[in-house]
Amino acid sequence: MKKRTMSQAVLYVICIIASLFFLMPVYVMLVTSVKPLDEVTLADMWKLPTTFDFSSYTTAFAKLAPNFLNSLYLVVPATLLSALLGSLNGYVLSKWRFKGADTIFTLILFGMFIPYQSILIPLIQFLREIGLYNTISGLVFVHVVYGIPITTLMFRNFYAAIPDEMIESAKIDGAGFLRIFRYIMIPLSLTGFVVVAIWQFTNIWNEFLFAVTITTSAQQPIMVALQNLSGSQIVQWNVQMAGALLAALPTLLVYIFLGKYFVRGLLAGSVKG
């Protein structure tokens, strides 16, 4: 028994050391963001502030607020639309299977692994043609299209768990494609919708490549604006850290309150369907 408590203690020590590694950036971020600028020096990075100064937050907020709103306008419709599209696709691919359905599914799935650099040049030409370049709607469109593979995969996995017998008996009772979707699939996959929505919300909020290439200044989402903060000559690190915290806040809150679903999404998207 004594040996057991000893090894338990060792395990705790290791866990705590690992936790310190993961939390260290958060500590530095928080501490730096509440320091006045003259205390933000490289040498004093680890010290607690002598006085609390929240001016970096007001500065960061003033600079980032419009982009924060852009991100909201982007992420809400994009998340809802791609979840809806994904659920319909997953439903067809799991319960209305046809010849070649698996091949089509695999071809769709490939789209989530490609480096988006390989479609970016034509994509921007296309968006210019149809007048969606440098618009939030353009970004919404892009995220819905390139969100198809992951949302389809997730929903297909969720729906595979719903027994086929249920669908068959509903069919015999005369229910069609839409009625089954509305009255059986949706009610049984509400968790699935939460998982997919959280996943898409996090990914679209955090996305950078599309955002930086498709939008300029006033239309830019938060991550591009955050990156631009450090582009200036003199980096005000306290403002920078406050900005990083503001930019990270929505996804962090989602993680803190709905972390369970976030991790489920991660597993649903990575373990093959």
Binding site: P25, V28, V92, I121, D164, N206, E207, A244, A247, F262
Partner: protein, 323 residues
């Protein structure tokens, strides 16, 4: 699953045969029509656009004005003889190997640790996982500050006799001359690997934990009965059982690291002598800042091929495993 379908179909043929069957196919077409838009979108925006990028990569479009005259493999030839791209290939290789190995070892280690039924396990789990909810841009910004040369970390390390310039270091470890570049491990890349590991280890921990939880307790019990020590149980039984998960983790991490862009762009940029440059950053700068569209397209195609090398076999094998 297959048997259920067969019985349903036979049922449909037994009862008023023709009418029922037609209704079924009409419904199937109706169902298919909901999938069709996605198929069309993927076909155009993934496959069509990849084809278009491939076409651009073979053209002479290296200025603001589109020029689609055929250039053959000229852009590719240029890249492979280019100092910057050679550095990118080296950096990607080093980054991928270091990043994946550390994530796998650390991820597996922490998952096993968490699986020891410690009290407060969920707190530790949440701490290990939360960086995944952050953007690579946020991670880049924070670690740029943390690993700034002459910061706290370095002040501390200096005391124990170790000094590092982190991502501003231009040294290449174990270097040997190769093409135009020094081949080896760029010291600056290690800083980027640390930041990437910080962000992505939680992913591996989550996957390994799921794998560990799926191993029935009887397996361990049986091994204990046979007199195996805890250490032996892990080394001989548990870790081998986790191998399929390791494969998945490698595939996922490989495709992230081969196309990495935002972390490096936000944290270090290309770096002096391109010590932290990667194809993703080069593609972005040469295409959208320099208007070398054909060169950018060629980089993108090379990136795609490198990812496909991992992903295509994985997708095919997971399809086979399913049926």
């Amino acid at each position: 699953m297959e048997t259920v379908k067969v019985t349903a179909e036979t049922k449909a043929t037994v009862v008023p045969a023709t009418r029922k069957k037609r209704k079924l196919t009409a419904d199937h077409w109706f169902a298919f029509s909901f999938l069709l838009p996605s198929i069309v979108l993927i076909f155009i925006f993934v496959y069509g656009f990849i084809g278009w990028t491939g076409y651009v990569s073979l053209s002479s479009w290296n200025s603001l004005v589109p020029d689609f005259s055929f250039a053959g493999l000229k852009n590719y030839a240029y890249l492979f003889s280019d100092f910057r791209f050679q550095a990118d290939l080296r950096n990607t290789l080093v980054f991928t190997i270091l990043f994946i190995s550390v994530v796998i070892i650390l991820g597996q280690f922490l998952a096993i640790l968490l699986d020891q039924k410690l009290r407060g396990e969920s707190i530790f789990r949440n701490i290990f996982f939360f960086p995944m909810a952050l953007s690579f841009v946020v991670t880049g910004v924070v670690w740029q500050w943390l690993l700034n040369p002459s910061t706290g970390i370095n002040l501390f390390l200096k005391k124990i006799g170790f000094e590092s310039k982190w991502y501003t270091d231009t040294n290449i470890l174990a270097s040997l001359h190769w093409g135009k570049i020094e081949f080896g491990v760029p010291v600056a890349m290690i800083a980027v690997v640390i930041a990437a590991v910080w962000q992505m280890t939680g992913f591996a921990v989550a996957m390994y934990l799921a794998g560990l939880r799926a191993i029935p307790d009887e397996v361990r019990e049986a091994a204990r009965m046979d007199g195996a020590t805890e250490f032996q149980i892990y080394r001989k039984i548990i870790i081998p059982l986790l191998r399929p998960i390791t494969v998945s983790v490698i595939i996922i991490m490989a495709h992230i690291s081969l196309k990495i862009f935002d972390l490096i762009y936000a944290m270090t940029g290309p770096g002096a002598n391109f010590v932290t440059d990667v194809p993703g950053v080069y593609m972005f700068e040469t295409t959208f800042r320099g208007n070398y569209y054909a060169n950018g397209a060629a980089i993108a195609i090379i990136m795609l091929l490198s990812v496909a090398l991992f992903i295509v076999p994985y997708l095919i094998s997971s399809r086979k495993g399913e049926s």
